[in-house]
Structure formats: C-alpha cells, structure tokens
Amino acid sequence: MKPKISIVIIAATLTLSACNDYFEYENQAFLKEKLVFSDYNYIKQVLTNAYTQLPVSFNRIDNAVLESAADDAEHAWDYSRVQLFNSGNWDAYNNPDDVWTRQYLAIRRANVFLNGTDTTSFSEFRYVDDITYNRYHAELKQFRAEATFLIGFFYFELFKRYGGVPIVDSVLAIDEDLNLPRNSVSEVVQFITAQCDSAINVLPVAYDANNSGRATLGAAYALKCRTLLYAASPLYNNGQYDKVLCDQSAKAAGEFLTGSLKSNYALEPNYGALFTRNWTSREMIFERREANSNYFEKANFPIGFDGSGVGATSPSQNLVDAYEMANGKAITDPESGYNAADPYTNRDPRLEQTIIVNNAMFGKRPIELWTGGLDGKGKEMASKTGYYLRKYQDDELDLLQNRTSRHTWYYFRLGEIYLNYAEAMNEAYGPMDSRYGLSAVAAVNVIRARAGMPELQPEDYASAEALRVKIRNERRIELAFEEHRNWDVRRWNIAEATLGADLKGMDVVKNTDGSFKYTPYVVEKRVFAPKMYYYPIPNSEILKQPKLTQNPGWF
C-alpha cells in the first residue's frame, strides 16, 4: 500500500517538473536585444526613442511657458509650479525645471543606440541584395551621427542649467563606479562641440519629405554656434566675453550666413507667419514637428474664449516696453513719439505679432483686456498683466469643437543665427568688422529689415558697448518666448536687474466714451539671488554621488 502512495507522489512531482513548460508564454511585445539591433526598422525606432527625449517646450512647466519664470511674462495661475521661480521658492529639493534625471536618461538612450549598432552588419542582405545592404549601411552611418548630435544637444540642456556636469559617453552598467565627479564647464563645452564636429562630417544638409525633422548638418553647426556663444559669455569668463570662443561661434554661424549653407536657408519673409501653421519654412534649422494638437491654445487663448482657461501666459509690461517704436527709437527716447495714452500705436510690428494687446483682433473679435471686459481682470484665470500671448497660437482653432492644428517648435532657426553672429562678432571684433563677409551691424539689420524695422543708426553702433545694448534688445524681441531669455540674462550676468526686477503689467480701464486709460502697475515682486545663475544639482543625486559638488549658494 505504502509504495502506491509514493508512486503517486513521485508521479505528481515528475508532472510538476515536466510542466515547467506550463509557464512558457511569450509576451509578444518584448523584443530581444539581438533582434532589435539586427533589424533596420527596429534600429530606426531605437534612435527615434532618443528623439522623444528632446524637450517639449510648449507649456514646459506645469502648463506654463519657461518665460513665465523670466521677466518676459507672468503665469495667470498662482498655483502653477512655475511660480516657484518667481517667489524664490526653489532649491535642490524642489526645482520645477529640474532636468538632471531626464537628460541623463536621454543621453543613455542615445548611447544605447550607438552601443547596440556598433556591431550591426545587416549581413543577411550581403550578396543577396547589395543595393539594400549599401543603403542600410549608409543610413546607419547617418543615424549614428544623429545620435551623436543628440548627445551634444542633451548635454547643452544640462550645461545651460547646471554648468559643468559629469560627462558620460558610454552605456553605464550598474556595477561600474558611478560616483563620477563633475567635469568643468570648458570640458563640457569641448565635449559638445566635439559631438557636433563628428556629426558635421556625416549628417546630410537636408532630408526628403519623410525625414524632415531629423538632425541635419545645419543643426550641428547651430548647436556648435550657440554652445560656443554661451561659453564665451560673461557668466563663464569672469564678467568678460572670451574673444576666442566668440570667434569660433561666429565662424560656425558664418557657415549659414556666408558659407557652405548659405543657399540652404532663408529668413521667412514675414515674421508673423513663422509661428503658426508653418512647417515648411526655409528658416527652420532644427525643429520638433508636433502632430496636430491644441493644448497650447487651451492654455493660452484669452479667457473669454470657450475652451481656454488652464492658466494663460501673461506677457509683461517689461517686455512690451522693450519693443521700439516703428521709427527705431526706444520708447524712453523723448523723440520716439511714444504716447503713453495710446501705447500700442506705431510700434515695432513684432509687438503685435508676438503679444495680444488690448483691443487687438484675435480670432474673430477684439480682445477685451480692460477690467470687466470679456478677457480682462475680474475673470478667473484672466491675464494678470493686461496682455496675452499670440506667438505660436492658432487663433482659427475652435476649441469647443476640439479642433487641432500642427505646431512646430524651433530648437534652432536662422533668425537666431544672425543674432548669435552679431553678438559674437561685435564682442570679438567690434561692430563693423566683416572678416567673415558680414559685419555685426549688418547681421542685425537683416533681422530688422525682415521685421519691417529701420536699420540701426550710427549712434547705435558708435561702440561695441552701444551695439551690445542694441543686439541684446533685438535678441529679446526677435526670440521672445522661444526659450532664450532665461538663459541669455544669466549668461550676460544681468539676471539681478532683469529676473529680479519688479514684474509689471498694464491696468486697462474702459472710459465711458469708449477710449481707454492705461496705467502700468507692479504685478509681482520677483526674487532673484546670485546663486540662481546656476540651477542646484538635485540633492538626492549628491547623496548618491558624493563626488558631485553643489553649485555655490545652494544647500
């Protein structure tokens, strides 16, 4: 009897061990690494994954644009995390724009691609289909250059926030020594420019219709140009410009303006047409071609429009005042003809192409920014400054019907290159030196001419210092809301006077006769401490990686 029991037990045990197959169900969505890096389409997808890590800059922080943390705007919702910057309420534990983890993740994604494709051979096509074989190899070379460029781009995102950061140029494993120290600013800058240089030799000048949006030769030059200009700036050079770096930056910019790429790019004739429903402009150098959407409009449409109300960007009086009169004079110039009672007439055309001022048309109606007006003070989530943002917004969208349209975010466009060039040339060689075929003044004038503004007057470029003021203001106007201001004022060492200045708005009252009374007022006292020139490295990272040193002033 006993043996029979044991037989049953043994039989059951055998069944059990034989039944390990019982557990073998494959998840079809899980792909083996070996397969992924031997297959052309999967390889392309892995690279695409690195692209997905590029910043989504519309509504970057909690539905707010980055400029709401600068002197160009205020955000309508008090509780948005972007406000932490304005009240000085951010630190190494709580930083609404902390990208440390995200960027290193992005860098790894690109490195995984480079590492995985090191051994890709497409050998199954060899001798069988040499045409495909050769095409795949050529494309792989280009893909690898794209990944190299992206790594440079991701490091630039780190550099402009934190300064020097650890350089990781391989796929790290968990058992490696991960306690890496920070590299210096110049090492990081050299690393980024080296990435650009290696990509420049391979990347094509342009892509076919299916592949536009990929990194081009121009994108690599543009990244190199901007990186060098930043590195040349006073913040990193004891308050002075580094003329050598300026020269290198100008040279990179020169490729677009007078050099090899001159015929590939052109300024969009109409500044206003650049930002809405435009995905074909020849001004684009590197861009994110977003699929149809309306989330930016939902946040930024004036509050009286149905479907808006997430919390609008409210451009500041500080920015509005920076726009010149149409005659090219600053509004502070007594001869400018500025009329404080009629502040928006005869201004730089870019003012109304960028900002919705009171009674300006938007969609099918004028915007009522006066107190009690449809879009004005007294409404929940109405503008706090008396202005709404126009740039990038498609005012033809019916949000109630949830209509969407294409949006294009410019990481680099030709307009910036002109201004990079002007700044770099002016700082390296002065206003009128045209050793690379164009002077700083001439470069600025190209931008002004496109906007419909008169050329600079001789007193504007009497000295490099005088021109510096003009170039910086031109940059603020031309590139407003394109994620430059926050970094420009830092690298120029003028953040206390700008990011720390009172943020002003315009109080608008409608008189009984239908005219308006305009009174500027202080919307918010801003807090900026010197430590804020650099972002703090997240405290949690310093705890795990003790060799990281915190930026000065942060705890």
């Binding site: 029979k4 059951a12 045990t13 059990l16 039944c19 390990n20 557990f23 169900y25 969505a29 899980f30 792909l31 690494e33 992924v36 999967y42 997808q45 892995v46 692209y51 997905t52 008090d78 509780y79 995390r81 932490l84 000085g88 309420n89 534990y93 709580n94 983890t101 993740l105 994604r109 990781v168 796929v171 790290l172 968990i174 991960l178 306690n179 890496l180 592949n211 536009s212 949006g213 995905w279 074909t280 071609r289 977003e290 509050i303 149905d306 479907g307 808006s308 109300g309 997430v310 919390g311 009690g372 409404k379 929940e380 989530m381 997240p538 990272e541 705890l543 795990k544 990686q545 003790p546």
Partner: protein
C-alpha cells in the same frame, strides 16, 4: 493581559465600555456559581469543524492560528459587500473602510499589519478552495470565514501565503428535511461626516488677507464682501455648498433572498437566490428622459451547491454560482465630481442661476451638479460565473481512510462597459452694456456611445490523496495536493501573459490521546513571475499543540474547563512583490515606447526603448513566522486567549533608485533586499452568562502590533535621525514645527536658523533646526507622529437577550495612527475649498492662539510641507452595528406553520468617537462613507 488592561483603561473613551464588560461579569458571576447552565456547554467543546487550508480540522486539533466567524454572526449585518461585516470581528484582521459609493464600497484588509513596504499587503482570498473574490457574495450564502495567520496554516499556500489568507466557505446541504428560508431587508443610508468648508464671505475675506500677506493688493472690495455677507445678489455673489447641491440627505438600500436546503442519503443541496439594490446619494438624477445618472448598484446572486453520493465509494459535487452586477454611474467619473467639489471655491458661481442654467466660467466648466446630471451615464454590467466539479473516491479497499479526489474549477468574468456621455454648457453672469449678460461656455452635445468589453477567466485543477484514520489513541491524517491555477485577463490580447501557479502541497497531522497534536506542512509552488530556474519555492512549517486540561492533574481544577497551548513556526512567501511591472523584473527586453514626429506630414514614428535593468535572480518575499498561543475557558463562562506572533519578512524587493545615481540613465532595477520585523499580540476575551431569562454575552478582541523596518536601500542621509530603518513601515517623516514667526525681527535675528524653502514672513511656520547647522532644510526631517496604519486595533461585541428579544452591538476601534490634514488647508491660490478649521490661522492679532500658519495664495514650500503642524491623531472608536431583534416564540410559530421568524431593526456605522471630528477618520475624500438604518425579517419554513 495586564498590558491590555492598562492600555484600555487609560484610554478614556474605551474605559466606559470596558466597565460595562466588567459590570456584566460581576452581575452574572453568582448565577454561574449557583450552577445555572451557560450558553455553551463544555460538553463537545472543540469538536466544531474549522476550515483550514485544503482541509477541515476539529477545533481542538487545530495547531495553527485560525480565527473564524460563522454564518449566525455574519447575517446580523446590513452590508452590500461582505468585508463591511468584518469590522472588529476577528483578531488580527484589520478592515479599513473606503468609499461608500454603491458597488465600489469594498474595504481594505490587512492581517497582522504591514509587513512589507514594497509588495502587496493584502491577504490571499480563497472561496471554496480557489482564489476568488468574496466581495460580492451575499452574507446568506456564506457558511464561515476563516482567517489563517501563522506559518503552519499559510505555508501550504507557499509563495502566496505570507500576507495571511481569508478562507471563505459557502453553505452546503446537510441531511435533513427540506428547509425554505426567506430574508428581507430595507434600509436608508446617509453620509457619516462631510467636511465643513468655509462660506463665501469668509472665503473672500481670507483671500484678501492672504493676498495682503503675500504683499499683493486685495481682490475683493468691501462692497463685494458685504454682498457675500448679506447674500443679496446670489447671481454675482454666490455662496455655494456643493455637497447640499449634489447629495440627497439619504438613499435607500434593500435586499431580498430565498434559499432552499436539505438532503437525504444520496443528494444534498443548498440553493439560493438573492437580489440587492443600493442607490446612490446623487440628486436630480432623473432629469433625463429614459435614464438615471445616479450611482446605483443592482446585484443578483445565485448559487447551487449539490453533493451526490453516486455509490458507496464515489461522491460527486457540483457547485455553480453566478452574479449579475449592474452598476450605473454618472457620465463623469465619481472621483472627478468629488474632486471638483473640493476644488471649486464657494464664491465662484452659483450652482444654477435663477433661469435654471448652470454656473461656470471658462476656467471652471465642471459644475458638479452639471457633471452629476448632464454628462450622461456609464453602465457597467458584470456577468460572473463560477463553477467547480469535484469527484472523491474512497480507496478503503487499499487501506482504510484513504481517499483520492480531483476538482476542476472554472470561473468566468465578463464586464461590458457602456458609456453614453454628453457635454453641457455653463454660463458666466457678466454686466454688459445692456445689463446682465450670460456668457456661454461649452454646449449641449448629443449622447455619444462608447463601449468596451473585458473577458477574464480562471481555471483550476486540483488532485489530492487524503488519508485519515484513528487507531486506539492515535489519530493520523495526511494529504497531498497537486494544484494548478491559470488566470487570464483580457483574453483576446496576445501581450497579456496568463497568471500561472503550479504547486504540490502536503500536510501530516498526528494526534495522540486527544491531548497532543503535531503537524507538518509543506508548500512547494511557483508562478510565472520568476525566472525559470528560480521559479519554485519550498515552504515548510511545523506546529504542535497540547490540551493541558485533558491531563489528569488539571481535571480536579474545576475553574479551568479548557486549556490549550500551541506553537508553530515556518515559512511562507509573497509573490506579489510590488515594484510596478513585477511580473517581468527578471527579463531584459526592448519595447515600444512613445513616438516622435518626422516628415512633412508631422507623422509619428514609433519608438523602441530598452527595459529597466533586469534581475535574473529576482525572488519572492519570505516570511519566517513563529506563533505561541494559549487558549482557555475559565469558570465555564469566560473564554480567553493570548497569541504572541512574530514574523521576519525578508527579501522585500527594493528599487535601486535610491542608491544608483541618475547619471546611470536608467532605472537600476530591483533587488531582493529589504527586511521587516513584525511582532504582536492578539488577545480575546469573551464571556457568556445568564441571569434568569436574561442572557448576556460580551466579547473583546484586540491586536497589538510592533513593526520595525530592519533593512532597506536608503539614500545616504547625513543625519542618523533621517534613516527610515529602525522605524515602523509607513512612519511619517517631517519637520518639527515650533510655532510661528511673530515678526520680521525674529526672522532676521542672527540666532534664527535660515529657512531655506522660501523667503519667510511673519506668520510662517518656524521649525526646529535638528542638526544645528543654522539651516532649515530637508535634512531636519525626523520621524514625527505615527504611521497611517494603526499599531493597536480592537473590536467589542456585546449582546443581551431576554426570551425572544435581543440587543447586540459591535464596536471597533484603532489606536496609534496619524492623519495628515494638509490637503484642505490651502494655499488659497489653488482657489479650492478650505476647511473651516483653518479659521484658526495666524494673524498679527491672533498670533498667541493661532493653530495654523498665516494664509497665503502661493505654493508656500515652507508651510505646506509635512510637519508636526499638520498631524492629527487618526484614532477612533466606531459603533459599527447595533441590532434589536425579536424572534417569535414557538407557540406562535406553530400557529403560523413556520419553523422560525425573526424581525430586526439595525443601525450600521452609527457613531465615530475620535479627536479630529472634522472629517470621517477613514474616508476623507471622494464619495462619502455611509451609515445606515435598516429593518428586516428572516423566516424559515
């Protein structure tokens, strides 16, 4: 026990109840001494069969820690989900109430505390031997619910047993005449306690105060404030209580059931059908033609458990049960509706204008009443079917007491989801040039249908060999079980691997002379969650018990009628190791993730990324458990038991995020690392007495827990007090508030630590600088308060009856838990509701008595962070049920030709005694928790 007494007596609110218990003891002692019979006689004590894992044991032979509640007690509840009948009933089992929404009111269960910080903490739930949910069974069909707690009772479940097991057994027929039972219940229910929000006048005034404190101009003029105060212009200056606007005062719930049971030598049956309808509290849900938008739950349960003795050796059992569950809800998810109630300031806009349109504006279009009434409805229709077929054959021709058996079980779960949703417009009242104008936002859209379908099934197979025999003084029983379980979710999706379990389990039980018992149990099983070569785990446990009162030397001691000691030790596991995608932690792969737009059409190209770092040796949590217990009946009327338990839970899965720097660029995967030590004491005390025709009973059970995190991956904290290790799982960490800044001078004082979170102003919270570095930052965070789960919980069950009349009550309480109340306290810039308790905020005038910091509109990182300022005790004592019942006397029954008739009135969840008083201590947000009043009858032919 002394500890129990001390603990209880110093807690004032429990004191009186304990007194009642003591008094009742005293009253009845003489009568017992006079030899009156007590409720339960010692005769046959311990012979009651108790369900344990894969078997049944007589109560006295049980060596493990098992607590059981029987049908008679369960049916004295009016609940719509079984779990809500278990508050305070079973030692070691903590039931925590959640939302009261019809059909979504399932509470959470925790057996002997939180023993893991990463994995699932909930117990394994088995209904009639297979893993199934018991939430939507009816009380009428349940015979017993056992809670298995220690090693010897859970090891047989192997890597699913460590969190304890709730074993539900349904009723079966017994050999008797055919009986017919009928139950009817009707009740009404209402919210227990809703938060009290401040009204518009206070809100506007406080908002101005907050703005002033932030250095900004006030928003509301005095004229406007006056209008909020006198409520003369509700169109422009409303004062809304959203709870009143959308919730009825009460809603009905009712249930009707019928069952048939009985059997003869060949066939035994239990057949029942039960219908329940639970209506939600929403108002105005009949505004739409043809459909309701209320949250409603209708459930039809049926069951047929049949046993057939095919011949002298073969028994066949067929169990079939099913449920139709129909849930109806507003077209907008109920949590969203309540979120909006919490998020909309009382002065935004009226609920409705005088013309009947909904209030709202561009930024706030989700008018809660509109969401309830005018966004259509969602219907969830569940059709669940469960079955099992068992064959059991005695092998007495081989040897006496040997049986072989097999069971197949198949459960099918189907849910269709049908939503008919639409939108509605809101209107903003503005003063236009020609008087009042209503600006419209949104529009009426036609109902749009969206449907979905879900099909899950579970199939089980089990085969076993059972041997049970007693020879002279020896009793031996042994069982070997092979079991496999396959659970498939979303059947038609290739990427969903089924959940698989396979195992071989066994138990040997030996008893000698009815006094000494020993047991050994082995669980050996594996699941698909682990890598091939490390898939199966071996879980052994042993136990012994000794019935001391059966020994000759105790026989003369009259006042001890029963005394048993037992001990067990062993291992069980937890395969629900947490960490998100915990079924795939051992695999390394690439997977589609996101897309990026390329090309002139801005078309998206699919992206593929690497998975997280795999761990090729990932394993289950291991629970090493040891129990010691003593159970006694004293003086023939007092039952006491004490059970000490301890568990060391190891291999808790930890993320490496806290140790690997972000420059790695990827989540560093997971490792089996953490350790939690848990120990505690369960005590029960119950008493039955009789004075003349009065019968008394009082029972108390209490569970004490002490739980320590012994090991986990932590960041390298600079100060020792920051480490989580050494504290209970779920310990709250935060800053120690030491009052408020009185003035700027105090802030600027050189001796004041620098508060780094934000530039502080007078009225902001001042914190203690724990490490003395002159800075207040996260490094000053230390353990504050207690944990969110209690360290002590108890139940009190009291009863008294006189002839047919009975009065019973069940009370349940928890101690040693902490609530965080930051949520409803601001900042006001959120424009959300503010609870009335913040009225006691800091102002220059009230700085001496203020309880909360100054109000602000900003996201003030200094004030609104976890600190002692926002902690409140989460302790409570709740009256979970009170029932007055009357059973008809026999003479009357004979006249009515009934064998039993009982009528009752009952209150559930009646009162909560707690110190916070402002919110329901268990359910702060979302659909409120409910109390109910019901009456009903049960009769039997």
């Amino acid at each position: 026990m002394l500890k129990v007494m001390r603990k209880i007596t110093y807690k004032g609110k429990v004191q009186c109840l304990f007194l009642i218990l003591l008094i009742s003891c005293r009253v009845t002692t003489p009568s017992v001494a006079q030899g009156d019979s007590t409720l339960v006689s010692a005769e046959g004590f311990g012979d009651k069969p108790v369900h344990i894992g894969y078997g049944i044991q007589k109560e006295k032979a049980v060596t493990g820690s098992v607590s059981t509640i029987w049908s008679e007690e369960l049916i004295k509840n009016t609940v719509t989900t079984v779990g809500n009948a278990l508050y305070g009933k079973l030692p070691g089992l903590l039931v925590s109430q959640r939302s009261g929404e019809p059909g979504n009111d399932v509470p959470s269960f925790l057996i002997r505390g939180n023993v893991t910080y990463a994995g699932e903490t909930g117990p394994l739930i088995m209904v009639d031997g297979f893993q199934r949910s018991f939430d939507q069974l009816t009380l009428d069909e349940i015979e017993s619910i056992s809670v298995l707690k220690d090693a010897v009772s859970t090891a047989i479940y192997g890597l699913r047993g460590a969190n304890g097991v709730i074993l539900v057994t349904t009723k079966r027929g017994v050999e008797s005449r055919n009986k017919i039972g009928v139950t009817l219940k009707y009740g009404i229910q209402q919210p227990t306690r809703l938060p009290n929000f401040i009204g518009s006048y206070d809100y506007a005034q406080l908002y101005n105060e907050a703005l002033t404190g932030d250095g900004k101009p006030p928003l509301y003029t005095n004229e406007e404030l006056q209008k909020y105060r006198d409520k003369s212009d509700p169109g422009y200056y409303p004062d809304v209580n959203w709870f009143d606007a959308i919730l009825e005062k009460s809603s009905p719930v009712w249930e009707a059931g019928m069952n048939f049971s009985g059997g003869n030598k060949i066939v035994r049956h239990f057949v029942m059908v039960n219908f329940m309808k639970n209506e939600g509290l929403f108002k105005n849900t009949r505004w739409n033609d043809g459909y309701s938008t209320n949250s409603t739950f209708e459930r039809l349960n049926f069951r047929s458990n049949v046993d057939i003795k095919v011949n002298s050796r073969l028994t066949a059992s067929l169990d079939i049960s099913g449920r139709l569950e129909d849930r109806n809800a507003p077209g907008t998810a109920v949590p969203t509706i309540f979120n909006n109630i919490y998020a909309y300031a009382p002065n935004f806009f009226p609920v409705q204008y005088s013309n009947g349109t909904f209030g709202g504006n561009s930024a706030y279009q989700g008018n809660p009443l509109g969401l309830v009434t005018s966004t259509g409805y969602t219907a969830l229709n569940d059709r669940n079917f469960q079955s099992s077929f068992r064959l059991e054959h005695t092998l007495d021709f081989i040897t006496e007491g040997l049986t072989i058996g097999a069971v197949g079980a198949f459960d099918n779960y189907q849910r269709s989801r049908e939503a008919y949703t639409r939108q509605f417009p809101v209107f903003q009242l503005t003063k236009g040039e020609s008087g009042d104008e209503y600006q419209k936002f949104g529009q009426v859209t036609p109902l749009v249908r969206a449907a979905g379908y879900e099909h899950n099934y579970r199939s089980n197979f089990e085969a076993y060999l059972d041997y049970s025999r007693s020879v002279e003084r020896h009793e031996v029983s042994a069982k070997v079980i092979y079991h496999q379980d396959k659970y498939v979710t979303n059947w038609n999706n290739d990427n969903n691997r089924p959940y698989l379990l396979m195992g071989l389990h066994g138990r040997v039980h030996y008893g000698y002379d009815g006094k000494y018992f020993a047991e050994a149990v082995v669980g050996y099983n594996g699941t698909e969650r682990f890598p091939k070569n490390h898939r199966f785990g071996f879980f052994p446990a042993v136990a012994a018990s000794w019935i001391v009162s059966e020994e000759e030397f105790l026989k003369p001691v009259n006042w001890i009628s029963w005394l048993k000691v037992r001990a067990s030790t062993g291992l069980s596991g937890n395969d629900a190791i947490g960490a998100g995608n915990d079924r795939n932690l051992y695999t390394s792969y690439f997977i589609n993730a996101g897309s990026y737009p390329f090309g002139s059409n801005n078309g998206n190209l699919t992206a593929t990324k690497e998975s997280n770092y795999p761990n090729y040796r990932i394993s289950w949590e291991k629970g090493y458990k040891t129990d010691f217990a003593v159970e006694a009946r004293l003086f023939n009327y007092l039952d006491v038991s004490l059970n000490y338990f301890k568990e060391r839970r190891t291999d808790i899965v930890d993320s490496r995020v806290n140790e690997l720097p972000a420059i790695l660029g990827i989540d560093g995967g997971y490792v089996n690392y953490g350790v939690v030590n848990n120990q505690g004491l369960e005590a029960t005390l119950s008493f039955h007495g009789k004075v003349n025709d009065f019968l008394f009973s009082a029972g108390m059970n209490a569970t004490f827990l002490k739980n320590t995190l012994a090991k986990r991956i932590e960041p390298a904290y600079p100060n020792a007090y920051q480490t989580r290790v050494g504290h209970p799982v779920g310990q709250i960490f935060g800053l120690e508030a030491v009052g408020f800044f009185r003035n700027q001078a105090e802030i600027d004082d050189a001796g004041t630590p620098y508060h780094t979170f934000t530039p502080v102003r007078p009225g902001d919270i001042r914190y203690k600088d724990q490490n003395g570095d002159g800075l207040i930052d996260s490094n000053d965070e230390l353990p504050i308060g207690k944990t969110t789960t209690p360290s002590f919980f108890y139940g009190l069950n009291l009863g008294v009856s006189y002839k047919g009349l009975s009065l019973e009550a069940c009370l349940q309480g928890i101690e040693g838990s902490t609530l965080l109340i930051t949520g409803l306290s601001g900042p006001m810039g959120k424009r959300a509701q503010i609870a009335d308790y913040v009225m006691n905020r800091w102002t220059p005038e009230t700085m001496e008595t203020a309880e909360f910091p100054r109000l602000t509109t900003l996201d003030n990182n200094n004030n609104y962070r976890t600190s002692t300022m926002w902690l409140r005790s989460g302790d409570f004592l709740r009256i979970r049920s009170v029932e007055l019942g009357y059973e008809l006397p026999e003479q009357a029954l004979t006249v009515l030709k009934l064998s039993n008739l009982r009528v009752f009135v009952r209150g559930m969840n009646l009162v909560s005694f707690d110190s916070f008083k402002k919110l329901d201590p268990e359910t702060f947000t979302g659909y409120p928790a409910l109390r109910s009043y019901s009456s009903g009858l049960s009769l039997q032919f």
